[in-house]
Amino acid sequence: MTLTRDNIIDFIYDEARMLDEGRFSEWLDLWIPEGHYWMPLDYKQKDPDLVTSLLYEDDFMRRLRVERLNGERTFSQKPKSRCHHVIQRPFVDEFDLDTGHFVTNTSMHYIETRLDEQFLLAITATHELKLVDGKLRIANKRVELLNSDAAFGNIQLLP
């Protein structure tokens, strides 16, 4: 079968559901190893490297993060947090079947909760997807918080 725009959009929905259901190990397998998960600190930040970001994580760091969430002595996750993504239908900004390269832009409301606390983040996520052995994979993901310059408490899961 050939890939359609709907397949791309479904991929984004499926990823959100995976995170909301806490299937983090499965989520790791969505990535190609070289990909970066980036959450900038500054609005419209261009450089992930020489100024601070909230997150800029490679394969090693993503694995560490997920392993930690699953760990026994992860005190800030006793009890565990839960999260919830409400997403708007993604825009498919780039759709190139020849090179297997796709870019989506998705508005989301992300909610995270633990004990009596709950907070909401308004997000624009940009996914760069690649077709690897017939499967869609995340090549890069950029999560832009509407209020990235605000002060936050712990953001523990994966917006």
Binding site: D49, T52, F60, R68, S76, A151
Partner: protein
């Protein structure tokens, strides 16, 4: 506003009296003043001393120099000695000239009367009157010819008006001077208390109106030899003992009794109090002879008692902050003052929980601790060009840090003097040459001076010049730019920057010396991480070396395990993240051996011998750049110093080896904003900044796996402290008998000495402004 003056000449006038000439550091012109004005000099341990400006030439309107004459009092309180210790080229801080002793402006004749060193303001008056062509007499008494300072210069200038009197030849005849004075004359007298009293009494006896008699005491009237303690009973029946070296107002203040006073020299009259019993020993120069003899009123700022007890008509206790702790402790330990209550909260090995959870204690911290200490404001690269500003806060005080047109950095209260509107609210920006308030368009120069008000004529007839609003945006007490890092002290008076930090600045030096160009630049905005806990929990954590292997096992321990499992090829560079995160899992011995150093005033650092930053890889390009800039020896020394966390009390921490600064900004007893900044080493290769940026996001971000566990601990502690079990927080690890925190110490890296050092400084700077310091004998 403070002036920084350079001593450009120091000339001996006569034995024990020197003439000091000061200029602005950069040779700029100095503020205008009028005859009779004085400067308050900041003399470190000797406190503040006022000296009248001498102005022979009437330069006051356009001064390039300021001159004072100081007589060395060998038995004095150290102020005059501190002045005499100054050497040409030294700089010193003073207030702007203030004038409490203004010359009258009427046509009436003037009688100037000076005694001893009290001649200094009188000289300025004589010069002014001489220039006006006014009618005046100038009487100047000294003990002998040898003791007559400026005799030659005065005779040369004011010969017609001048009469010199020498005690050992012919004593000044005050009786005739006053009796023979032309009618309507104004009397200006400056000299010892006895002389001023005599002038006042004689003048009153002549029926001369009070508002024609002006005087200034040049010596402190308090504290005579042989003063004894006595008791004071106040209206509500409480009785206080006034020790020999304290005044009534000092004791009442310390006890929280609301006493009104100003000059504390017995000449302003404000502290006048009714005497209901006992016999006062008058030391003031305000009361008339009949008032004095009646024994019914007294000036409680200087006067004492002849009887064992005085009963005074003075108030009910003020509604001064009385803390819960103070109340509890007053019933337990019978301590009645705030300062005592504060002291009772801190023992060397344990700290009362109220210091972390009590709202009133927190408010006292904002009022006292954050006012008396030097607090970090920002980095000068955040305000690189003139008009650049940032907004931030010192304790709970909103401030603006701005670069003025003279290229200096000013720190101003962010409050319009008109109606209070914050002048700037963006976190940073450029305001050009002036700030303009968005409410009614009052404008201010970037040094805070009021520049313009629309429709200003509306204030023309209102004595606006005298109102506080005319002063513009107020500056904080003192500002210091240390190698790019800007600190400020809110209090107008207090410890100097150098005394406050001392050797502790060596960690800043190490951080800046790591830049081949010798300076740092801020790299991007800070991470902003909100903590629902007391600010001191974060400060404590910076030198808490027994928590990483426990609290951070989930991140650092997992990282080490993952790395081992990954069978990393030997020839592939280790992930930079591993270099950063793995050392958190180092065993206790590593932290024990790394050492902790503490400095006076609450500063200290971990990592004396090595640290978690020691094994970071360096590359030859960087090494060569450093060697080129500093030579091999210094470069090696700089990179060999790998201090871990340095705490600058009260509320920042820096990491020299990774060029980071964390600012723990208090927002409430249980709320703290942590801002984590990173800096570029100017002249160094990018990979260093890359590691620094990575460190910041891995460790200090709200999304940090390491930060999550720390915050979890702080917040649990903040809640746990409310439990009705013990009320004390234990900081006893490796405590040795009676530690002296004024000593620099290097100890085992797991000691909690630095936490004890911090709380010792907490008490010191909390209580500093709560009651007068016990002063050395006068």
């Amino acid at each position: 506003m403070t002036l920084t003056l350079k001593l450009t000449a120091k000339d001996s006038v006569i034995d024990r009296i020197d003439l000091f000439t000061f200029e602005a550091i950069d040779g700029a012109s100095l503020p205008n003043y009028t005859a009779g004005a004085h400067l308050d000099f900041e003399l470190g341990a000797a406190g503040t001393r006022s000296y009248s400006l001498i102005d022979f030439e009437r330069r006051a309107g356009n001064a390039r120099q300021l001159q004072v004459a100081v007589q060395r009092e060998d038995k004095g309180d150290g102020g005059s000695k501190a002045m005499h210790a100054l050497e040409v080229g030294d700089t010193i801080e003073t207030t702007e000239p203030k004038n409490d002793f203004e010359l009258h402006s009427s046509e009436a004749p003037t009688i100037l009367i000076a005694g001893g060193i009290g001649v200094t303001p009188i000289i300025s008056f004589a010069a002014e009157l001489h220039a006006r062509g006014a009618r005046y007499q100038f009487h100047y008494a000294t003990r002998s010819r040898e003791n007559c300072a400026f005799a030659g210069a005065l005779t040369a200038r004011f010969a017609d008006a001048l009469t010199l009197w020498f005690d050992n030849e012919s004593q000044m005849d005050l009786q005739s001077i006053i009796a023979d004075a032309p009618s309507g004359a104004h009397f200006f007298c400056c000299g010892p208390k006895g002389m001023i009293e005599a002038v006042r009494e004689l003048a009153e006896a002549q029926g001369i109106a009070k508002d024609h008699i002006h005087f200034e005491l040049f010596a402190s009237p308090r504290g005579h030899e042989g003063d004894k303690p006595f008791e004071v009973e106040i209206a509500d029946g409480r009785v206080f003992t006034i020790p020999a070296d304290k005044t009534i107002v000092e004791v009442l203040e310390a006890k929280g009794i609301d006493a009104t006073f100003d000059c504390q020299r017995g000449d302003c009259g404000i502290c006048q109090t009714k005497v209901l019993g006992g016999i006062p020993d008058h030391r003031d120069v305000v009361l008339s002879k009949s008032e004095r003899d009646s024994g019914k009123v007294m000036q409680i700022c200087v006067s004492r008692a002849k009887s064992n007890r005085l009963k005074l008509d003075i108030g009910a206790p003020a509604s001064k902050a009385k803390t819960r702790a103070a109340e509890r402790r007053s019933t337990m330990g019978n301590n009645t003052t705030d300062a005592d209550a504060i002291r009772a909260l801190v023992q060397q090995h344990q700290v009362h929980r109220d210091t972390y959870i009590d709202k009133e204690i927190y408010e006292l911290e904002m009022k006292h601790l954050f006012s008396n200490t030097w607090v970090f404001v920002g980095h000068d690269s955040q305000t690189l060009t003139q008009g650049d500003y940032i907004t931030t806060q010192i304790g709970n005080q909103p401030v603006i840090m701005v670069r003025h047109t003279d290229d200096q950095i000013y720190v101003l209260y962010n409050r319009c003097p008109h109606k209070g509107t914050k002048i700037a609210i963006d976190r940073s920006g450029n305001t050009g040459k002036f700030f303009r308030c968005p409410y009614h368009a009052w404008s201010f120069k970037t040094d805070g001076c009021l520049l313009a008000i629309p429709l200003k004529k509306g204030y023309a007839e209102t004595d606006f010049e005298d109102s506080e609003a005319n002063n513009g945006l107020e500056s904080v007490g003192a500002v210091k730019n240390y190698r790019g890092f800007v600190f400020a002290r809110l209090a107008k008076e207090g410890m100097s920057f150098e005394d406050y930090f001392g050797d502790a600045m060596s960690s800043f030096d190490n951080m800046v010396d790591r830049a081949p160009a010798g300076r740092l630049e801020v790299a991007g905005p800070p991470l902003r991480y909100m903590h629902q806990c007391n600010w001191k929990m974060l400060v404590d954590n910076q030198t808490d070396t027994c928590h990483p292997m426990v609290a951070h096992e989930s991140s650092a321990g997992t990282a080490v395990r993952l790395f081992e499992e990954a069978n990393w090829p030997a020839d592939k560079p280790k992930p930079m993240a591993m270099e950063i995160i793995a050392p958190f899992m180092s065993p206790y011995e590593f932290f024990e051996e790394m050492g902790i150093r503490t400095w006076p005033n609450g500063h200290g650092h971990t990592g004396v011998h090595h640290s978690i930053h020691s094994d970071y890889s360096q590359d030859p390009e960087y090494w060569n750049a450093l060697v080129e800039a500093y030579g091999e020896e210094k470069a090696a020394k700089t990179l060999g110093e790998n201090r871990h966390n340095t705490v600058y009390w009260p509320n920042i921490m820096i990491k020299g080896p990774v060029q980071q600064l964390r600012n723990f900004i208090p927002l409430g007893p249980d709320k703290t904003l942590v801002e984590s900044y990173i800096y570029r080493l100017v002249g160094a290769p990018d990979y260093l900044l890359q590691r620094t940026a990575m460190y910041n996001r891995l460790i200090n971000a709200p999304t940090s796996m390491v930060g999550h566990d720390d915050l979890e601990m702080y917040e649990r502690a903040q809640e746990g402290l409310h439990a009705q079990s013990t009320e004390w927080i234990n900081i006893q690890r490796l405590h040795t008998e009676e530690e002296d925190y004024d000593e620099i110490a290097v100890e085992n890296g797991t000691t909690e000495r630095q936490m004890r050092n911090q709380m010792n400084a907490w008490v010191k700077f909390m209580t500093m402004s709560m009651e007068p310091e016990t002063e050395a004998a006068e």
